[in-house]
């Protein structure tokens, strides 16, 4: 962790943003380099992750689920974190960083609302002003999270542009940041965006994988055969993958949303569709696998899961893919819904629709000795949307 911050992962990453933001990105990078090596900062973050978030999250042997697939499956229980998802790991770390940089106003984007809630929570805790940009379609399908954010004191800014989902929310948050950059920090929720965000978000989320790797050794005395996580932008996946990357015998599986089916074009799976080296383009400040037409216009993603409904991907994932270190694949809305209901009855755990994609892939591909699935969040927020479709 003593090295600098990556601007590129192979050919991916970079800083494709308006000049106005370049000094802010440099300031952020410098602040993170210092905070990362500052024992007092790290102790504060660790203390909050433990006493406020509830870390470490358990690694739970899901016995009835294991019996169905025929091998032990451990769930990394990020759903048990305060606010109900892994997003708080990053939001809290970046909010502390903003405080350290003297920035009193926070902007964030949200899709499913989990990152928005996590950011609103961290801002309440640290007494920072919080503005969350959210597409009106997502406001509709994630109403409980909108109410939570407002209760926590955040302002939810409805975004009307485009498909009114996560892509436009990110654009609106970036425009807000461009306009208010002198007093505002942008807490980007996923491992994408311009450098240094992909590296910062990974550094803050790798706690998932650091814990899971130690826990699986303690519980089983071995490494898993596979680590499986859903990928929208890819923050929970990069968090759990990172400590396992040097363990070359561990297969890393990233599960994207196939939406209504890859062949329909109505999906959110640029890493899967492009294959190694494919789909490269610039979205929201970095070069990575994206969904685009031949002119480079960005296409709309489609997924039942608001948190995966995004036409881009984190640059480090694209590089893990091209190196053959991680495999990316996709699960349809229907398969995710089935897994959602199945795991609820099998384990008494209602997974987030996002995490249900990773579980569905496991059901489809049961051949393994030992797996860890990142249960990135809880599914209470999805009930209204899901019940009608089950």
């Amino acid at each position: 962790m003593s090295s600098g911050i990556e601007h590129r992962f192979g050919p991916y990453g970079g800083q494709y943003v308006p000049e106005t933001l370049m000094p802010a990105l440099a300031e952020l990078e410098q602040a993170w380099l210092e905070a990362r090596d500052d024992e007092r900062f790290q102790a504060r973050l660790r203390g909050l992750l433990q006493a406020y978030v509830g870390r470490p999250s358990p690694l739970y042997l899901a016995e009835r689920l294991s019996a169905q697939v025929g091998h032990p499956v451990y769930l990394k229980r990020e759903d048990l974190n305060h606010t109900g998802a892994h997003k708080i790991n990053n939001a809290l770390g970046q909010a502390l960083l903003a405080q350290r940089m003297g920035k009193r106003r926070i902007v964030a984007e949200t899709g499913a609302g989990q990152h928005g809630v996590a950011t609103a929570t961290a801002c309440a805790l640290l007494d920072l002003e919080c503005v969350v940009h959210m597409g009106t379609e997502d406001i509709r399908r994630q109403q409980p999270n909108v109410q939570r954010m407002e209760l926590l004191g955040a302002t939810v800014m409805p975004v009307q542009a485009g498909a009114r989902t996560l892509k436009e929310a990110v654009s609106a948050a970036i425009r807000d940041w461009v306009t208010n950059v002198t007093d505002t920090h942008y807490i980007l929720g996923t491992a994408a965006g311009p450098a240094p965000y992909p590296a910062i978000v990974r550094d803050l989320q790798r706690v998932i994988g650091d814990e899971a790797r130690a826990q699986v050794f303690e519980l089983t005395g071995r490494l898993p055969e596979r680590v499986i996580a859903c990928v929208g932008g890819g923050s929970n996946a990069i968090g759990i993958f990172t400590p396992f990357v040097p363990d070359t015998e561990v297969r890393l599986i990233g599960v994207e949303p196939a939406g209504e089916g890859i062949e329909t074009g109505r999906h959110g799976a640029p890493l899967t569709v492009g294959g190694p080296g494919g789909s490269g383009g610039i979205l929201h400040g970095s070069y990575s696998a994206i969904m685009q037409d031949e002119d480079g216009q960005i296409l709309e993603a489609h997924s039942i899961s608001a948190g995966l409904d995004y036409p881009g991907s984190g640059p480090e994932h694209a590089w893990l893919r091209d190196q053959g270190r991680a495999t990316y694949t996709a699960i349809t809305d229907r398969e995710a819904l089935d897994a959602f209901a199945r795991v609820a009855r099998l384990e008494g755990i209602i997974p987030a629709l996002e995490s249900a994609h990773a579980l569905a892939w496991l059901f489809n591909n049961p051949d393994s000795e030992l797996d860890i699935v990142c249960l990135s969040g809880r599914g209470d927020k999805d009930l209204a949307e899901v019940i009608a479709k089950l």
């Binding site: 970079g14 308006p18 106005t20 370049m22 425009r175 950059v181």
Partner: protein
């Protein structure tokens, strides 16, 4: 004369004619549709434009405010593709140098070299890429230099002197100075810090300095010139007119030109 030389000449002749600054109106190619955007470009020339900035529609224009964003979306919905959008240059390039404004992914999707070739073919004089900062720009700049076309950099009020030095050294054509911390769009207030920003940019650059973002009235254009801008870029106000009252575009441009007249 190369594209870069045509840009220099346009600023030079505005100065030689005693005008307070060169006028560079912006239009969105393909908005409201392709043919009408050609007419608007010709109206700009007739109204007194010294140069024209031509925007290529993009789905996710991060540096633009709501009016130009909506025009991007409308142009794409009206069927504008990149090849057709670039062809709008041909409508006016005999009369004034045209600087194309295009987001990075559109250039990348075409391939840098093919895009540079296309710019040369249609008669463009330069290129502005609002999401391609200095660090990411060398490859395309080299390709444009080889074709005599100018890669025009942007600087912002937030840009520190150390960056200004490097950006100024790599500037071709002119330096596009963003007048406000924010996205494109009309604003009521004019920034009291303009003379200082412009002086700072000028001190670090040998090419002309043009000011854009937030200039929506002839009075603001005159103020920009008075603050020391060599060129004034008017975007959102004219894009709004193109949507609401295209018949008035020519006289509107003429009003801006009059505000910059000797």
């Amino acid at each position: 004369m190369s594209g870069a030389e045509r840009i220099a000449a346009a600023f030079e002749s505005a100065r030689a004619e005693g005008r307070r600054a060169a006028l560079m109106p912006y239009l969105m190619a393909g908005y409201p549709d392709l043919e009408r955007s050609r007419e608007i470009a010709r109206d700009y020339v007739a109204g007194g434009a010294d140069l024209i900035e031509l925007g290529i529609p993009f789905s996710d224009p991060l540096a633009d405010g709501p009016v130009i964003h909506a025009a991007d979306v409308a142009a794409l919905a009206a069927g504008a593709n990149v090849t057709d959008a670039l062809s709008v240059v041909r409508a006016v390039d005999e009369h004034v140098p045209v600087v194309v404004m295009c987001y990075a992914n559109v250039i990348l999707a075409r391939g840098l070299e093919r895009f540079a070739d296309l710019l040369a073919e249609v008669g463009a004089s330069g290129l502005i890429v609002p999401d391609l900062p200095l660090e990411e720009a060398p490859a395309i700049r080299e390709l444009l230099d080889a074709r005599g076309l100018a890669l025009v950099p942007l600087v912002a009020p937030t840009t520190p002197d150390e960056r200004l030095t490097r950006i100024g050294a790599a500037a071709r054509g002119f330096v596009y100075t963003v007048s406000v911390t924010g996205t494109t769009g009309e604003r009521d207030e004019s920034d009291a810090g303009l003379p200082e920003i412009l002086a700072r940019v000028r001190a670090h650059s040998e090419v002309p300095v043009a000011l854009g973002f937030g200039i929506g009235t002839p009075a603001q254009a005159a103020a920009a010139a008075a603050a020391g801008a060599d060129g004034v870029i008017v975007g959102t106000r004219l894009v709004r007119a193109a949507g609401e009252a295209p018949g008035e575009v020519r006289s509107l441009v003429a009003e801006f030109a009059a505000a910059l007249a000797a």
